[in-house]
């Protein structure tokens, strides 16, 4: 467990360094092409610094907002609050904040930067579908992510990938509109600028699948098995989580608020296509081990 925590912190730092290097190279390239020298690099490093600080301190808020999670009080959800508080006591960590996501597919995730600043979100579907023991199993799994600091790594990955997608779209679009403007307009400089924008956007686009691979590697499947096992240790009752996972197998997975940047955070991989199980593409880039295998390992405990 302590090894896991150390490895998660190490990977978080490596990811941030990777983002710095990546943006730095882009900055250098822009500076070189424009002939402005180190200015591009300086701007890129400032952007990288802001991005890193922002994802550390408010990554959880971004993730919660992007899934449209709503904070709930103990009066609104007494059962959920009681379970979260109980498992926080069992794990010896402060009680995380409790959120509900307005989605019918049963699912859950945890986010934050450390156990003192953590949140657990569950979908409405999970609340209606699971009984107390099953809900305890699911929350115990999420609590293990909190204890192991998986939440910090997962949240940084989510914000960095989200930012990369946004940036690449920004550059591609600016080339598109810049290109049209250039054709209509007068100066030849605009064409060169547009070309650079396109190059940067293209580079980012090429990086996007690679980023997907990075997520797959850093948020490895072992993490989910480990959280399952630790969760079962917290409740001292593996059948609870087993029964919850069995229900997930047959339940719908489509969620409106699912996207590539946050897919790895969820208990069960969300699908973006309504009324359909995960598509081949999604399976190819799957961030989660198959449910059947997770159930088998829990049954062996």
């Amino acid at each position: 467990m302590y090894e896991e925590i150390a490895s998660n912190k190490r990977k978080s730092v490596l990811l941030v360094i990777g983002a710095f290097l990546f943006l730095g190279v882009i900055g250098l390239a822009i500076g070189y092409l424009f002939g402005t020298g180190p200015l591009g690099l300086v701007i890129a490093l400032v952007v990288a610094f802001l991005l890193a600080t922002w994802s550390y301190f408010s990554g959880d808020k971004v993730v919660l907002a992007s899934t449209r999670a709503k904070l709930v009080t103990p009066d609104e959800q007494p059962r959920l609050h009681n379970i979260v508080e109980g498992l926080a006591i069992a794990a010896g960590v402060p009680k995380p904040k409790v959120y509900v996501v307005p989605e019918q597919a049963p699912n859950a995730y945890a986010t934050g930067r450390d156990p003192e600043h953590s949140s657990i979100a569950v979908t409405e579907g999970l609340l209606t579908m699971m009984n107390r023991v099953e809900l305890e199993g699911v929350i115990a799994h999420e609590m293990s992510h909190v204890v192991d600091r998986d939440i910090l790594l997962g949240t940084i990955v989510a914000t960095l990938v989200g930012a990369a997608v946004l940036l690449s779209e920004f550059f591609m679009r600016s080339w598109w509109w810049g290109g049209i403007g250039g054709r209509r307009g007068n100066d030849s400089n605009g064409g060169g600028f547009g070309l650079i924008m396109f190059a940067v956007g293209f580079a980012l686009m090429a990086i996007a699948p690679l980023a997907g691979q990075v997520i797959k590697l850093s948020v490895s499947r072992n993490r989910e098995y480990l959280a399952d096992a630790q969760g079962a240790l917290l409740t001292r009752y593996p059948p609870g989580l087993i029964s919850a996972l069995q229900k997930l197998e047959t339940a719908p997975t489509a969620m409106r608020s699912a996207n590539n940047a946050t897919a790895h955070l969820w208990l069960n991989q969300p699908s973006r296509i309504p009324g359909e199980k995960n598509s081949t593409m999604e399976r190819l880039f799957s961030t989660h081990p198959p449910l059947a295998e997770r159930i088998r390992r829990l049954e062996e405990m």
Binding site: N82, G86, L87, I89, A90, G92, T128, M130, N131, V133
Partner: protein, 188 residues
């Protein structure tokens, strides 16, 4: 200085560092045990507060089940007066048993089971029961670690020198997990 002196100084430094490490570990564990105990205490108090409300609510529907009410009320008074970990654990067992009886009785009164106040109290008590169980689990884990350290060599030397002692486990003799397991889930 001669090499022998260096070796002696080196050994002393290692012993001192090991001593400091063990001392800090003992202090950390003792703090966690105390913290675990206060967690249990908070939840037990919460249960004492909920019981009179529950008894009043059930009385309104099942007034002739006097024996059950008396049993729970007595158990509560006994637990509040209990001293020491062992005695406390015994008294809490009595409460858990009494509550189980009370909820079993409630099963026979459909109107009671539909009462919103009763349902809210039942959720609160079930939640508190499981929190007690989890707090007990955390406390016992920490006690086990502390007792192992206090009892084993060489940490026992440090423990003895600074007055660290073993602690009692908080035992509840229940075949399963202790809490009353009442499931009120819609849709199952």
């Amino acid at each position: 200085m001669s090499p022998v002196l260096w070796i002696v100084v080196g050994l002393l430094a290692v012993v001192l560092l090991a001593g400091i490490y063990l001392f800090n570990r003992l202090v950390a564990l003792r703090t966690r045990v105390d913290n675990g105990w206060s967690q249990i205490d908070v939840q037990l108090r919460r249960r004492y507060d909920l019981i009179p409300n529950l008894v009043e609510t059930v009385k309104g529907y099942a007034s002739h089940e006097r024996e059950v009410f008396e049993h729970v009320t007595e158990a509560r008074a006994g637990a509040m007066a209990a001293e020491g970990v062992d005695q406390q654990a015994q008294a809490e067992n009595a409460i858990t048993g009494g509550l189980r009886q009370l909820f079993a009785v409630a099963e026979n009164y459909p109107e009671l089971k539909a009462n919103q106040n009763f349902l809210a109290l039942q959720e609160e008590l079930t939640g508190t029961e499981s929190k007690i169980a989890y707090a007990r689990q955390f406390y016992n884990d920490q006690v086990m670690k502390l007792n192992t350290l206090v009892g084993s060599f060489p940490s026992n030397l440090v423990a003895k020198a600074f007055g660290f002692t073993t602690r009692d486990f908080f035992d509840i003799d229940d075949p399963e997990r202790g809490p009353v397991r009442v499931d009120l889930t819609p849709g199952t």
